[in-house]
């Protein structure tokens, strides 16, 4: 685990950024935050389709949970209104809590799945929830990690 995380850092320095793939939003269900699960062609040789789809679907589920309009959100809304919204100064909203979970999940996915394949997912919140940005790296030298064998072979075929 530690070496894989270390690879993430090394990725920035030793690998060169080849391209960035952007997963756009899926608005078919309205304005809720949902990303398209269509597998981008640029990642064809880099990662298995199933893994990618699991990541995006899990993210979509997290966002749906954050934006769910139900008992807890009503309670939060009414409580906030009753306190003239002062309570938002001390309390973290449910949305923010879920965003933290998402952030952890993305970091986890990066460490375990994406970095060993020379990819890096950027948290959508840093891109205004418009896109999931996946940076595709090409390993420059042989210094790039023990797990680099798969990524170097895939990068050489990927270009």
């Amino acid at each position: 685990m530690a070496t894989e995380f270390h690879n993430l850092q090394e990725l920035h320095h030793s690998a060169s950024l080849a391209t960035k793939v952007f997963i756009q939003r899926d608005y078919s269900e309205g304005t809720i935050c949902k990303f398209q699960t269509k597998f981008p062609a640029e990642l064809d040789s880099r990662i298995e389709r199933a893994l990618f789809e699991i990541t995006v679907k899990t993210l979509n589920d997290y966002y749906a949970e954050a934006e769910k309009i139900g008992g807890q959100s009503y309670l939060e809304g009414c409580l906030a209104c009753a306190t003239a919204y002062v309570i938002f100064l001390c309390m973290e909203t449910r949305y923010e809590k879920v965003l933290k979970k998402i952030s952890k999940y993305i970091q986890d996915q990066n460490e375990k799945i994406y970095a060993p394949r020379g990819l890096l997912i950027t948290d959508p919140i840093e891109r205004g929830m418009r896109v999931i940005e996946i940076s595709v790296f090409e390993d420059r030298g042989s210094s790039a990690s023990s797990s680099g064998s798969s990524s170097t072979s895939s990068s050489s075929s990927g270009r």
Binding site: Q24, T31, S73, E76, G77, G128
Partner: protein, 487 residues
Amino acid sequence: MHLGVSDPMRECEYSQISTRSSTPMESPHKKRIPRRKWQVFPGRNKFYCNGRIMMARQTGVFYLTLVLIVVTSGLFFAFDCPFLASSLSPAIPAVGGVLFLFVLGTLLRTSFSDPGVLPRATPDEAADLERQIDIANGTTSGGFRPPPRTKEVIINGQTVKLKYCFTCKIFRPPRASHCSLCDNCVERFDHHCPWVGNCVGRRNYRFFYMFILSLSFLTIFIFAFVITHVILRSQSMGFLSALKDSPASVLEVVVCFFSVWSIVGLSGFHTYLISSNQTTNEDIKGSWSSKRGKDNYNPYSYGNIFSNCCAALCGPLPPSLINRRGFVQPDTPQPTPPTNGITMYGATQSQSHMCDQDQCIQSTKFVLQAAATPLLQSDPVVMGDEPSLPGRTSLGTACAALPLAQPTPPTSTPSLSCDTDMHPLRGDHVPEAHHHFLTPEEAPSPPGMLPCGSPLGHSHTMPFYNPASQDSLHEDSVRGLVKLSSV
């Protein structure tokens, strides 16, 4: 950060100019001062309390609103409440007090919060979108503005067109709209309200609604009880002497009478909008009106009034997407500068050619404004050799600087005509320096000005410049402006 501190004379110039706004000018003195994101925010917003408070540019009417509410309520508490508390009930001032505080709280919350601004696309995103659009159109983008781009999406069975925003370089999500006053795309854009000095959008609509609702109650409350007060008094001493005893009541009645109609009307209108889950924008355009077609319906409505109300008022509050108080990381891509279609420091070359005639004309005008405004007190410095720059990028730089500087209030447009001979050469370099010098004259923290400064400081992403030439460019633009102002 990359502006360099080698030249003591330049440092001297900077220290003369910088007044209250800090960082672009201080960066020569203190290297590596991390800047907060609000300071480089590309929209036309004002930020206070180190990024915690966000408002629109024109806030005059907001202060009027505040004054009207505070003064009227103050007069009520001072002149009418003592009588009412003693002759009727002490609950009256108590209820009035609670209402007043609620109104103030929701007003401030509406005015100071982020309405749901969508951050602009990073250069990579914008390039990717452009590529996809070109593939979809089957054309390569020409030298002039391409035709408007739209994307169709089916939402709950209704076809919705998503428009491409040329300023923010994104396809606007459904229900989002670009506010021309604030120069931002706002999610679930309702309207720009000058009375609260901010846009009303996804994140502050409920506060806005609560504000107008509670203000209606407060207005009716004050109106009713002031009338009651005057009537009760005139029963014992006659109408005219009652009025003489509490002159403030007349003012209160007048203010409340005229406010009641508009505010209660507005509350009613927004109650209708909430119950049908529409925005003011959609209602005015008639987007979901049945007049447009038999099959036209609102795809966002939950079907019943109760659910729509709950969703609008008690739904989850999304966090701000623009992260005002975060620090600008030197290695993260800067969002597309507010160039109305132009990127400054060539993230992709395909975008720099979008500097069209319009922008160039505006840039010229702006240079003239700059030249006509007396700025510096320092001795004029002889203009150094202008570094030979790739024409496209320098023009792009100039044009990029401008839309930011466009928010210059009309008061600072003295005589555009007098310096017409100045524009050709200076146009390239002056604007980017000019906005620095405008800061003493402008409002304290004009974030609209600063973002243009940041690309100069963050020259790491520029393929055309190295920091050294960037420094000399900046130095020359400073000198150029000094020379201009001394003419």
